[in-house]
C-alpha cells in the first residue's frame, strides 16, 4: 500500500467547507430536534391517550428504523408530494426528526428521574401540576437533561456523515469529491476520520468539564 498525501493540501479549503457544513448541520438539527423532542416528550407523558400514543409511536418508529432509511424516505418521498427542497434542507429535516426521537426520550427520562416526592411536596403546598413542573421539576430535570443532550450532539456530529448519500456537501461528501478528482480513495477518508475523531474528542472533553460543573453546582 502506498500512501500519498502530497496532493491533499490544495484541497484544504474543501475540507474546511465540509467541516463547517457538518458543524452547522449538527447544531441546527440538534436545536430543532430539541424543540421537537420537547413537544414529543410532553405528548408522550400527556394523560390524553391519543397524544401519548402519537408521542410513543413517534419515538418507537424513529428509534426502530435506520437513520439512512429515514433520510432516503424523506429525500425520495417528499418530491412525490410535489415538495422539493435543496439537499441542505432535506438533511436538516431528516436529522432534526431523528434527533427529536432521541431527545424526547432524554427529556422524558430526565423528568422522570426527579424524585416523585418533589411533585407531591409541591402539590401538597397548593401548586398546580404545571406550576410544580415549571418551578420545581424542570429546573431539577435540566441537570439530568443537559449532559445527555450534549452527548446527543456528539453522536449527531458523527452520524450526520450519512447525509452525504443525498449529495449534501458535508465533510464526508467533500472527501468523496476530493477522492474523485485525485483518484486517491484512501487519503481523503483518513483525513476526515482524523477530523471527526478530533472533533468528537474535543466536544466530549468540553462536555465532561461542563457536566462536572453542573454536578458541583448541585452540592454548593
Amino acid at each position: 500500500m502506498n500512501l500519498d498525501f502530497s496532493s491533499m493540501p490544495q484541497y484544504t479549503q474543501l475540507f474546511i467547507n465540509g467541516l463547517i457544513m457538518t458543524i452547522e448541520l449538527t447544531i441546527i438539527s440538534v436545536a430543532i430536534g430539541a424543540v421537537l423532542g420537547l413537544i414529543v416528550a410532553l405528548m408522550k407523558m400527556s394523560s390524553v391517550k391519543i397524544l401519548s400514543f402519537i408521542g410513543s409511536a413517534y419515538v418507537e418508529i424513529i428509534r426502530g428504523t435506520p437513520l439512512l432509511v429515514q433520510i432516503l424516505i424523506i429525500y425520495n418521498g417528499l418530491p412525490q408530494f410535489g415538495i422539493k427542497f435543496p439537499g441542505f434542507v432535506v438533511g436538516i429535516i431528516a436529522l432534526s426528526m431523528n434527533s427529536a426521537g432521541y431527545v424526547a426520550e432524554i427529556i422524558r427520562s430526565g423528568i422522570q428521574a426527579v424524585d416523585p416526592g418533589q411533585m407531591e411536596a409541591s402539590r401538597s403546598l397548593g401548586m398546580s401540576h404545571s406550576m410544580a413542573m415549571r418551578y420545581v421539576i424542570i429546573p431539577q430535570a435540566i441537570k439530568n437533561i443537559l449532559p445527555a443532550l450534549g452527548n446527543e450532539f456528539v453522536v449527531m456530529l458523527k452520524e450526520s456523515s450519512i447525509v452525504s448519500v443525498i449529495g449534501f456537501a458535508d465533510l464526508t461528501r467533500q472527501a468523496e469529491i476530493v477522492s474523485s478528482v485525485t483518484y486517491r480513495a484512501f487519503e481523503p477518508l483518513m483525513i476526515i476520520a482524523v477530523i471527526y475523531f478530533v472533533m468528537t474528542l474535543v466536544f466530549s472533553r468540553l462536555l465532561s468539564i461542563f457536566e462536572r460543573r453542573l454536578r458541583t453546582g448541585d452540592t454548593r
Binding site: 416526592g117 407531591e120 397548593g126
Partner: protein, 240 residues
C-alpha cells in the same frame, strides 16, 4: 374540621383501605398508629388527595373535597403535609423552599413572604440557616425546615407522615419538640408515628389501624394502658 366517611382505597387488586371513618375537631391532635403496610400513609394521602379515594367521602370544614367540582389546589393550601423523607427542594435555599409556594400560589410579594419565612425559621430554630441548601442540613434540621415550609401556607390542618422515622435517634427530639409546640398553639394535627411517647403526651385521641380498618380508637391512656382488641395488644407487645 376533617370528616372521613367510609373511605375505601384500592390499588389494582389490592384493597388497602376497607371503610375508614374518622373525625378530627378543630385544635385536636389525632395520632394514627399501626403496623407497616396497614394503610396509615394512604389515609393521610387521601386527606389531601395525593391519592384519590376509590369510595367514600372526605370533608374539610364541611366542604366535600373528593368531588369533581372541588378546587383541589385551594383545598391543599389549607392542608399542610410533612413527609417522612422531607421532600425539600434541593435546588433552593432554606428560605427559597419556604417562600416558593406563598409567592407563586398566594401571589404574595417577595418581601412579605421572606418576613414570614424568617419568622417561621426562628420558630423552628433555623434562623441561622436561611441561606443554606438542604444538603447542608442535618436530618432533624431538614424536617424542621419542611415543617416551616408547610406552615408558610398558613394551613388549618397539618398532616405528618412518620416525620421522625428517617431520622437518627438523637434528632428525633428536636422535631417532636417543634410538633409539640405547634400542638400547644392549637394547630389541628393528624400524625402517623411510631413515637409512643409523643402520642401519650400530645395526642387527644389515638387510632389503631390494621389491614385497612380502624381496629380501635380512644384516648392515649385508654388505648395504651388498656387495649381491648387482641390485635392492638399484639401490636403493643411487639413495639413496646
Amino acid at each position: 374540621m376533617i370528616r372521613v366517611d367510609n373511605l375505601h382505597k384500592r390499588f389494582g387488586n389490592l384493597e388497602v383501605l376497607k371503610g375508614v371513618s374518622l373525625e378530627v375537631k378543630k385544635g385536636e391532635v389525632l395520632v394514627i398508629i399501626g403496623p407497616s403496610g396497614s394503610g396509615k400513609s394512604t389515609i393521610l394521602r387521601c386527606i389531601n388527595l395525593l391519592e384519590e379515594p376509590t369510595k367514600g367521602d372526605i370533608y374539610i370544614e364541611g366542604e366535600k373535597i373528593n368531588d369533581k367540582k372541588a378546587d383541589i389546589n385551594m383545598i391543599r393550601q389549607k392542608v399542610g403535609m410533612v413527609f417522612q423523607h422531607f421532600n425539600l427542594f434541593p435546588n433552593m435555599t432554606a428560605i427559597g423552599n419556604i417562600t416558593l409556594a406563598p409567592i407563586k400560589v398566594k401571589k404574595m410579594d417577595k418581601k412579605t413572604a421572606e418576613d414570614i419565612a424568617i419568622r417561621l425559621l426562628k420558630k423552628v430554630g433555623l434562623e441561622d440557616k436561611k441561606d443554606a441548601y438542604p444538603v447542608k442540613l442535618s436530618g432533624g434540621q431538614k424536617q424542621r425546615l419542611a415543617i416551616a415550609r408547610a406552615l408558610a401556607m398558613q394551613p388549618d390542618v397539618m398532616l405528618f407522615d412518620e416525620p421522625t422515622s428517617a431520622l437518627d435517634p438523637e434528632m428525633v427530639k428536636e422535631v417532636l419538640n417543634v410538633m409539640k409546640e405547634l400542638a400547644n398553639e392549637g394547630m389541628t394535627m393528624v400524625v402517623v408515628t411510631h413515637e409512643m411517647g409523643f402520642a401519650k403526651e400530645v395526642a387527644d385521641r389515638v387510632i389503631f389501624v390494621d389491614d385497612g380498618v380502624i381496629v380501635e380508637e380512644g384516648s392515649p391512656e385508654e388505648l395504651f394502658s388498656n387495649p381491648k382488641s387482641p390485635r392492638t395488644k399484639e401490636f403493643f407487645s411487639k413495639i413496646l
